[in-house]
């Protein structure tokens, strides 16, 4: 049947694969794998599944570099989300995903459906979602469009997350001109479940039923994945079908109904419908299980009449789930969904053989091998070439700039620059407390979420590095992993796994691919040394507008485990008189620093390198210090260097500090230089000797540089004073600028 169709249409579909984003060579591969020409429905199925977004054709070979195993890993990349054992019979489940292009054309709905999508990936595995995080990049908020995007994206993330009742506990927001036309919206979700509840996205068991639940299918988002696999252009604004409207209410009901079905063991396999819709869900579940499917498209509940089979198969309508169910469990499943007034429809069944056969009005409209559609796309080894800017920018020496005249002014400047300023304007729009498990919400190095079942807690953080990866992709990749894991360590949690979202330009351009490849190599190296596995992630290529690419931006979501929820640590100075210590190596640089960007308007120079062995020692030491309750506060040193971190610890604790730096210090470098593997601690005097001893044993530098007290940050050096700022002036600079900018 399918064959006859394809012959009939052979003439008409003349190179139509090109319009669907397939290359001639790829089309030839399809014909080869299928043993005949595909008919138009089949070609549509192939084209969405072989898009970059679904097939990872330009990234697959690089992603193999990531270490994906550890004694804790239960499920690495390849399923909807990674699963890591956290003891007591429980597992943490997490993943991050991009929704960049939809957010560029409809910021509210683009971001909202991004959150809805990543949420489904978590409960699809059987896990109760417990936290959202997000990583955002925009153009400078100095114009209406920039503010419009920021406002819409933040409202959309809150709109969805708040409504489904999962707290949004952390994230990051950065601004660079390169993100002006192509903002980045990466959403992460973390869940927890009893290990025995794990279900996979597999269509196993011949004779089992294939069931579709949730929203009706409409014309929205048809070919959304193709849209995500192209550069943005004028045309994108008109690409209406690629944008969907989220329905968080339905989303919330689907979570509850799905988890109840999983708990009652009524389902054999669960798969969410996301990119490439039904086509992806059907072919992936069948291909993972090595089975076939027979599906009756007439059964799919439609929102409007007249959808063509290919439209039903590729629609990305939100809030839909696919279940594989043993026939005797169908009525149990129906009871649950009826209670929540959610539609549930049997579409077909699992068969022997590996063909996905689609019926429509009594005829076979598509008959394709699941593995070929889901996994047969070519893996490219694109050419990479070092871009011209690279050497030129690295050769810039920031120390050639004149010394700063007034470091106090500069610190205020930095505190009120959009990258560093308090993001409370953003997170106060997120319900970060719902579920009453948030022990530390947004604003710290990582968020801490308690686990009611075990008395343990998870620390979660998300960090990306655009500017530094631009200046040195290999280093930037390492730094992203190091910073995210260090952030959870600062709360006292041991990093147990990461998920990553790789936001890059067009991989078919050698410079962009070189950035990608080097960044992945750096991340992989950092994961190896730090012994944290990558258990899942997402790649977003083609982040370009009119040939201008974004900074290569790897974003890392880290999850850490705290054995005792009662013992976690925050960044704020707590006790008058506590000693303040600087932990970690001395090496810093102004290359790629915020100082250079904010004060001198330059993005250049060599960032400080990282000694991953030292990073590991620092992180392990931080965990030990917090676990033993020896420190009052811990805060990671990152953007803006020592001065900014000290100011943040002062503001977070509502206390001043008096700092005395060693004599030989170059003030600009000491105050504002940036480097990895460092943290500011404060601790009671009585613990001082023990902490120094532990640092020595660990082989980590630790210097006492001052004490907590007063109502100002006072930084001196050998009798001279670098700067002195009152808490209230710092707070004003830090806290008010964002709301002012956005109003």
């Amino acid at each position: 049947m399918a064959e006859r169709d394809s012959k009939n249409n052979a003439g008409r579909q003349d190179k139509i694969w090109r319009k669907l984003g397939l290359k001639d060579f790829e089309y030839a591969m399809i014909v080869d794998q299928l043993g005949r020409e595909p008919n138009p429905v089949e070609l549509n199925m192939y084209s969405v599944m072989w898009s970059e977004h679904c097939s990872y054709k330009h990234s697959r070979s690089s992603l193999k570099l990531f270490p994906t195993e550890s004694p804790r890993v239960v499920q690495g990349p390849g399923e909807n989300a990674g699963v890591v054992d956290i003891g007591d019979g429980y597992a943490a489940v997490f993943k991050i995903e991009s929704h960049n292009h939809p957010s560029a054309v409809e910021p509210y709905q683009g971001a909202a459906t991004g959150v809805g999508g990543i949420l489904r990936d978590i409960y699809t595995m059987g896990a109760q979602p417990i936290a959202f995080l997000n990583s955002l990049r925009f153009g400078p908020p100095d114009n209406d469009r920039g503010r419009y995007l920021l406002r819409g994206v933040v409202a959309g993330i809150g709109g969805y997350g708040n409504c489904v009742g999962i707290p949004t506990v952390g994230g990051e927001v950065y601004f660079e001109p390169c993100y002006r036309g192509n903002p980045l919206v990466n959403a992460m979700c973390v869940g927890v479940m009893p290990l025995e509840r794990l279900v996979l996205g597999q269509a196993c068991g011949e004779g089992n039923l294939v069931v579709l639940a949730g929203a009706r299918t409409g014309r929205d988002g048809i070919h959304g994945v193709t849209f995500a696999s192209e550069e943005l252009s004028e045309q994108s604004e008109k690409d209406r079908p690629a944008v969907q409207v989220g329905d968080p209410f339905l989303g919330k009901l689907l979570i509850d109904a799905t988890l109840e079905a999983v708990e009652k063991k009524l389902v054999q396999g669960v798969q969410d419908l996301g990119g490439a819709g039904l086509t992806c869900a059907l072919t992936e579940t069948a291909s993972r299980a090595g089975t076939g499917l027979e599906i009756d498209l007439d059964k799919v509940p439609l929102r409007e009449e007249g959808l063509e089979p290919f439209e039903i198969l590729t629609s990305e309508s939100q809030e839909r789930m696919l279940f594989i169910v043993e026939p005797e469990h169908l009525s149990g499943l129906e009871d649950i969904f009826r209670h929540w007034q959610l539609p549930l429809t049997v579409l077909g069944r699992v068969t022997k053989g590996r063909l996905v056969r689609i019926f429509y009005r009594g005829e076979i409209v598509a008959e394709v091998p699941a593995e070929s559609v889901a996994g047969g796309a070519p893996a490219y080894e694109p050419e990479g070439r070092e871009p011209d800017y690279y050497r030129e920018l690295s050769s810039f020496d920031p120390l050639s700039l004149p010394p700063l005249k007034d470091p106090g002014r500069v610190l205020l400047n930095l505190l009120s620059s959009p990258d560093i300023a308090s993001k409370e304007w953003v997170w106060q729009q997120y319900d970060y407390m719902v579920r009453t498990c948030t022990l530390q919400g947004p604003g710290g190095d990582a968020a801490v979420i308690r686990l009611r079942e075990s008395g343990k807690a998870l620390a979660v953080a998300v960090d990306g590095s655009g500017r530094l990866t631009y200046l040195d992709p290999y280093l930037g990749g390492m730094l992203a992993v190091a910073e995210a894991t260090r952030n959870v360590s600062c709360c006292g949690a041991e990093p147990i796994g990461i998920t990553d979202c790789l936001n890059f330009g067009n991989p078919e351009k050698p410079a962009a691919f070189w950035q990608f490849r080097r960044a992945v190599e750096g991340m992989a190296e950092a994961c190896r040394v730090l012994e944290v596995p990558v258990v899942g992630g997402n790649v977003s290529f083609y982040n370009e507008v009119e040939d201008e690419a974004i900074y290569p931006t790897p974003v890392v979501g880290a999850v850490g485990l705290l054995e005792d929820a009662g013992r976690h640590c925050g960044p704020g100075f707590k006790e008058e008189g506590d000693a303040i210590c600087l932990l970690g190596p001395e090496e810093v640089s102004l290359g790629g620093s915020q100082l250079l960007k904010v004060v001198h308007g330059r993005v250049a120079g060599r960032p400080a390198g990282i000694d991953l062995g030292m990073e590991k020692k620092v992180q392990a030491l931080l965990c030990r210090l917090v676990a033993r309750g020896l420190v009052s506060s811990v805060h990671d040193l990152s953007e803006g260097g020592l001065a900014v971190s000290l100011a943040e610890s002062c503001m977070a604790g509502g206390r001043g500090a008096v700092i005395e730096l060693p004599l030989s210090t170059d003030p600009d470098l000491a105050l504002f230089g940036e480097g990895p593997s460092r943290a500011i601690l404060s601790l009671p005097e009585k613990n001082r000797d023990q902490v120094i001893e532990m640092a020595e044993e660990a082989g980590v530098e630790l210097r006492v540089i001052g004490r907590v007290g007063g109502d100002a940050l006072d930084i001196c050096c050998g009798g001279g004073r670098f700067l002195k700022l009152r808490l209230d002036e710092m707070k004003k600079a830090f806290e008010e600028v964002f709301s002012w900018m956005m109003s």
Binding site: A155, N162, Q429, T436
Partner: protein, 237 residues
């Protein structure tokens, strides 16, 4: 003594209220499904926060028209104690069980933050263990929390002691900065005339454990428990 927590489609703080009553206060608590037409035997019924029916159309509007609300109205009319938190408050106003309405925050944004409310009347079952003027630290998290009442109603509420909580600063002073949503006269919570139905926008159930930053919300629940115990004693004697 038994607490009930109504679960509407889209409720999401049901878990938090349930957890607080069961695990922190160690009292009996049961969920009540939205499709129930009879409530059963409860002493206090809590309408939890969340986004019932997505808060589509208006916050709380669709939930206020479900069967369980008719049963709840019966329960309230016969003197049963009803506490609406956040979305629960919105449902109660939409259902006409509390006067006034909750409008969009004047910032037009969802607001989640720690804050303070002042106890304005301690003669209710809900506040018996507090003193008038007590300042309680409790978070808010809502997008439609701006309480509106026409002037005559406002006067009535004041005259009858129906204003239960107002937003204040840490020192108990009413100020614009302390008002998270533009609410009329900084009103954060009100009671019905009879005093057995109370709704408030802040989340007492999120202020019940030290690890979460405040235990001030407990006074509401302790007051209710105290009230019920007194009633039992009186009933037995």
């Amino acid at each position: 003594m038994k607490f009930g927590v109504i679960v509407f489609p889209g409720s999401n703080c049901d878990l938090d209220a349930y957890h607080l009553v069961r695990d922190v206060l160690k009292r009996d608590v049961e969920y009540i499904g939205y499709d129930r037409r009879k409530l059963g035997n409860f002493d206090v019924v809590i309408l939890p926060g969340g986004f019932t029916y997505g808060d589509y159309l208006r916050s709380g509007a669709l939930a206020a028209r479900t069967p369980v609300i008719e049963a709840l109205a019966g329960f309230a009319n016969s003197g049963g104690l009803v506490l609406g938190i956040c979305n629960g408050f919105q449902v109660l106003t939409e259902a006409g069980l509390l006067p006034g309405a909750l409008c969009r925050n004047d910032s037009l944004q969802f607001r989640c933050r720690q804050g303070y409310v002042r106890v304005e009347t301690n003669t209710l079952a809900f506040t018996g263990k507090a003193k008038n003027g007590d300042v309680l630290k409790m978070p808010v998290a809502h997008g439609d929390g701006s309480y509106y009442a026409p002037p005559e109603l406002l006067r009535d509420l004041d005259d009858n002691g129906q204003v239960v909580f107002r937003y204040v600063d840490r020192d108990g002073r009413i100020s614009e900065a302390a008002n998270p949503n533009g609410s009329t006269a900084n009103i954060a919570g009100i009671a019905n005339r009879r005093g057995n139905v109370v709704g408030l926008m802040p989340h007492p159930e999120r202020a019940g454990e030290r690890a979460l930053g405040s235990v001030d919300g407990l006074v509401l629940f302790r007051s209710l428990i105290g009230h019920l115990q007194d009633r039992e004693v009186a009933g037995n004697g």
